[in-house]
Amino acid sequence: MSSKIELLDQKRKRYRKGTVTWLFVFVAAWIVRSALKVQTVDAGLWYDVLLAILLISSLLQAYFVRRELLLGREIKNDPLVKEALNDELIQLNELKAWKAAFFAVIGFVVIVAILSFFVHFNDLMMLLITVFLIGFGTYNAAVYFLNR
């Protein structure tokens, strides 16, 4: 029989996998949509399809994040479970994930800086949101892959 810690750990990994999968879909759709916008392509129907993907993936992400938060509350109620599910390896992996996110953001900024010599980026807000999504996405993906 599996222990409570193991069961909660499996649950957490399952929810994290859901969050990361739909976050990946969201970021991919966001980048494609932003790239079309930058090149001022009249993509008509594709804009609507990408918008629908963004909305659906946001809803699914929200579902998995909510499940994770509820699980987090359950974990917090038991100090022994909380300690085990936040052990030294998990803490180390979270630090590694921060590092990965930092380098992903730096890499993206460098790519945008180089591209800015050839392409005119007129929407600063779109760029800022993309940088945030790259960092947030990399952190979550790294935490999932390191702890799986």
Binding site: S3, I5, E6, E83, N147
Partner: protein, 71 residues
Amino acid sequence: MEEKKLSNTLKIQRTIKNLTQEQLAELVGVTRKTINTVENGVYIPSTYLALKLSKVLEVSVEELFQLNEGG
């Protein structure tokens, strides 16, 4: 300077005590994955965790972890 590699007898000691990775993890307050990565030499535990493991398995830290001269 010669390269030194940390090896361990965690799996052997755990088997002697007739414990699964999951049971040992619960006794020392970590996840099964942490025990698995320590056993496989992927992760080097902190002094705190090493002491906890030696206490639960009733062996000295030196019996659990050894520094081997690498080639």
